[in-house]
Symmetry: none
Subunit: 405 residues, 2 copies
């Protein structure tokens, strides 16, 4: 079982001090030209500027300097898990991405519809990127007819286009199964085997299901006439957020991936709005029930991924307008940070460090007065690894006691 190796668990206190932990997805950015301003620096953010001026801030590396994280590892790190040692398999990520309620006995599998010719050889590994509707239709046929072996439950869920999720649920399954996708055309799909090339109970079950699927789709009127299976993955065994940090944790998140990631660490997902004011309202409603409330705002990342600099600026400003509502919750500690940078200039995630502000009665204030990457790089928290954030947050909330005497 994974544990953050150096953290002394016995210093965690249990009390009623509340933490509101707001993630502005992909917040960090870059100027479009080197002499320009970033999205954060461009945005007019009087409320965030005030929060920064009165509290302590810094710039944190999501994983390690230079490493660009996906959403999964980035959030696990925010939650205080060492994500580099805790890889999330593709099947699991697919399940999280559609907010499928995973249990520890599930094997999650990414399914790609593909096209086979009459000789059973692959002609298109993505079945011509069929529509999500076509995916639902064909997957429905499989779901209706497939008969899992006794003691095994099977779940089949459309993701989008040619992508789907298969989940096998039974206490005796393992995820040591290699992909059946040969990553090549003109050859037949592979049989399921273990990574060491052996057969096993799970691979036999998978091959049985693949065989049934072949029969069910033999005469289907669709380019999606077979499936390739990838990324067999069970949940990592890891302590829940509550076990790890002594906080009963809830999540307010509208997007499935983040709801899934919150559930992965045992948070209760209580609401799913997406607009800043709605997020604050949901936080106000549910904060009484939790010690720690994770609030996820997606649109900063979305505009960054779109390469829409002005749109990202506007979303930062829209969030700024809701900041007084979060401050009004009056938690012991309010954190505003990001999972990673998504500069509109790059239209994708990047490795650049992300701004963090910790607001609490217990901060040692610094002399930073504006909510921007360059300014916050001079903050009192300095530049450090994101894995350090959770202990800092707990400390500022009075939820850690002295180590040693």
């Amino acid at each position: 079982m994974f544990e953050m190796c150096d953290f002394p668990a016995d210093i965690i206190l249990h009390n009623n001090n509340k933490i509101v932990f707001v993630v502005l997805d992909g917040l960090g950015g870059l100027p479009l030209s080197k002499d320009g301003q970033t999205e954060m620096e461009t945005a007019k953010t009087p409320n965030l500027d005030k929060l920064v001026a009165e509290n302590v801030c810094g710039c944190f590396d999501p994983l390690l300097p230079g490493i660009t994280p996906g959403s999964g590892p980035a959030h696990l790190t925010l939650f205080g898990y060492d994500a580099l040692k805790l890889p999330i398999g593709r099947g699991l990520l697919e399940a999280l991405g559609i907010d499928f309620k995973i249990t520890p006995s599930d094997v999650c599998i990414r399914v790609n519809f593909c096209t086979l010719d009459k000789d059973g050889k692959i002609t298109d590994r993505r079945a011509g990127r069929i529509s999500s509707e076509e995916n639902q239709r064909v997957l429905g046929m499989v779901r209706d007819k497939i008969k899992p072996p006794k003691g095994i439950q099977i779940f089949l869920e459309t993701v989008s286009e040619h992508r789907a999720l298969m989940v096998l649920r039974s206490d005796q399954l393992d995820d040591n199964v290699a992909d059946t996708d040969p990553q090549a055309l003109g050859v037949p799909p592979l049989e399921a085997k273990t990574h060491s090339g052996q057969s096993s109970r799970t691979t036999k079950i998978v091959n049985g299901l693949i065989g049934q699927t072949r029969e069910i789709l033999r005469d289907v009127d669709s380019p999606a006439n077979f499936v390739l299976l990838r990324g067999f993955a069970k949940m990592q065994k890891m302590p829940s957020f509550q076990e790890k940090w002594g906080c009963k944790a809830g999540a307010v998140a509208g997007y499935p991936m983040y709801r899934g990631l919150a559930r992965l660490v045992g948070m209760e997902v209580v609401a799913g709005p997406t607009e800043p004011k709605e997020l604050a309202r949901a936080a106000a409603k549910h904060l009484p029930d939790f010690d720690f409330l994770f609030v996820h705002f997606k649109y900063t990342d979305k505009k960054g991924e779109d390469g829409d600099f002005a749109g990202k600026v506007a979303q930062i400003e829209a969030f700024d307008a809701a900041v007084p509502d979060f401050v009004a919750l009056n938690p012991s500690t309010l954190v505003i940070t990001a999972d990673h940078s998504t500069p509109a200039k790059l239209a994708m995630h990047s490795w650049h460090p992300v701004p963090v502000v910790i607001a609490s009665e217990l901060v040692r204030p610094d002399d930073v007065h504006s909510f921007g990457e360059r300014a916050m790089a001079h903050g009192g928290l300095g530049r450090q690894l994101m894995i350090n954030l959770m202990p800092l947050v707990l400390a500022h909330a009075g939820r850690l006691t002295k180590f040693g005497a």
Copy 2:
């Protein structure tokens, strides 16, 4: 085999983005009096100031805060190896220092000429610090007459004064041999033994060679009438720079130690000028053949070691004049940094952190505008460990992809 434990190797991309990595040896300094300026701060460096102003900088600790590195560990860390876990034995360092072409089957040994009295007891552990010419003369006598056992090659090379290098080459040797130098006068040299005091094939061979040397030098007309052997060392098994970082790497370095260190990690040493403009010219010539070009400038360290503050300032200014030539190479990423500080005030290496500037289209600019330790301590890269530099450099060169999804 050593690996930087946490770096996920599968995120490394292979593309044509070039990196020019310039090391100004011993660049970091100190003011001569506390209210003064450092060498860097004193030097007029308009080109470096511009590079800093347009890009991102920081101050990095070579190994760990407070630890002064030798050239070997400092360069290994620059190249992204965890030098604290990768000790370079003294014999190996001696071989690197004279640019001896080491192979993995070599045992490298530091040889000190010493003086024995007629009873075979040591009267001078350094043979009166004989001249290098005398060393060559006496070592030549040994080289001419010594007969290594079958299957063993022996190399004997003068280093300087009383210092020499012995290399034994054979597939079946080990370096588990303790020093024969008793570190005391009035006693005879030690026999070769393993560190656990056992004999072994290698120690037997070494004792045979020591015996032959005693006979050869029995009647020599020189204070150098015997040898003490120290620091038996083979190459560490470690991944090459190319295996580790996915970059075909070349080196432009005029001084033997740095040529040797570059070769140790598998870089191809392509040129050996020493003057800044010549270094830039060599870089221009050879950059097309490599992904990563290490360029080493020695004189900043040399003047620091000499305690020559004004001389070091002049060398920094001389390098500054060549900066436009490096910028004109237009690599994806240009790095200018140092292996360690060598303040003229101390006339030796020190632990003080070293300036780093990363120039790339992908930097998040900071608000530092001058090339000096004090200014660059406020850079956007912050203060961090030098082991982080290589991942940051690869990221800025677009040679790393996302970790996880």
